[in-house]
């Protein structure tokens, strides 16, 4: 499980409508994030725990905080696998 979360600042984010593009020049990859994933990535430097991100999501979207937390955990796992988070991000 992720503890302190930090996004990889080498990536470039661009909002497009309610989605976002995340460009990873180092790995020559372009990721398309939906609104939820875009929220998580763009806020994970200030809301640095999964619980804080889930609380933030529940404030932004019509979703139960427990369900949001489950989605946050899943999304952070995916982002970590795709090298979208900094290697400084720690696991607890």
């Amino acid at each position: 499980m992720l503890g302190h979360i930090k996004r990889d600042d080498r990536l470039m984010l661009k909002q497009v409508g309610d989605e976002a593009l995340l460009l990873d020049i180092e790995h020559n990859l372009l990721h398309r994030l939906n609104a939820t994933a875009g929220f998580i990535w763009s806020h994970c430097d200030t809301l640095t725990s999964p619980e804080a991100l889930a609380h933030g999501l529940a404030g932004q979207y019509d979703v139960d905080e427990q369900i949001a937390l489950r989605d946050v955990m899943h999304t952070l796992d995916r982002m970590r696998a795709l090298h979208l988070l900094s290697s400084d991000s720690t696991q607890s």
Binding site: K14, G17, L23, A37, Q60
Partner: protein, 308 residues
Amino acid sequence: MSPAGATAPARAIDRSLHLRVLGQHVWLLCDDARLAGILAENFSLLRSAETGRAPDLRYFAERCVDGGIAVSRDHRPLGVAADAGDALFLVEQDLRMELQLRRPDLLFLHAAALTWKGRACLLAGESGAGKSTTTWALLQHGLAYLSDEMSPVEPQSLSVHAYPHALCMKRRPPDGYPLPPSTMDLGATLHLPAHRLPNADARDTAHPLAAIFFVSHRSTCPVAQRLTAGEVAARLYVVALNALSHRHAGLEAVARIAERIPGYAIGTARLAAACDAIHGVVRRAASAHAIVEGGPMVAAKPRLHHPL
């Protein structure tokens, strides 16, 4: 194609062709009658009458004693082509690269472009997706030719310039869209000179974009399926040739286009039906004075999307 070598040219250069492409003056010098004819046909709508002007780019194609054709630009060797078709490929490939370097204000997309009543549409897709075949077919449906390979787009004005070299196909189109006798068969590729196409728009002006289509000849669904702006931007980024020469690595340019120009996915395996669908979308866009995209504002909190 053979690698670049130091083979001496067989005889002096005696043929020249002057082009004007995206504001650049290009001079092609060639000593081979067949290649000179192919180059003249290939670039027919890009020819310039300003023959006295100093060129920005100068290409040489010289027949070697061993039968190959040495191609160079401004005395820099580009390679030795096995035949005229390969020599044309070398010139075109380098010219496209040089144009991207000389016009960093434009976003060059690997896409075909056509117009209908002054409004342009793009056909984008990976190599072999059917851009050129669909372009050829759409010309029979009344659209006009701008390019089949590279489309230079002005991100600010959301308009596209022509690059009307010969329409180039890797395979013959399906029944219903036969090639004319003027088609040049260069072995690996078939070239239709732009001045011989049913409709071509060679004006050196930018045409406002109306729609973007992402084509796939593997799909039999000839329905234009609307894409989200995010998906359009992502697909545009993949076919952008010089994204990194733009602000924010080109993300801003593709986002600006995608948020303002509707994008569609369409299968072209059923070519006639796909052309009807594309034509319908472009016709509606061309007849509209303004296109308002987006849905109604929602007062309630939006639902959570399942991430990634």
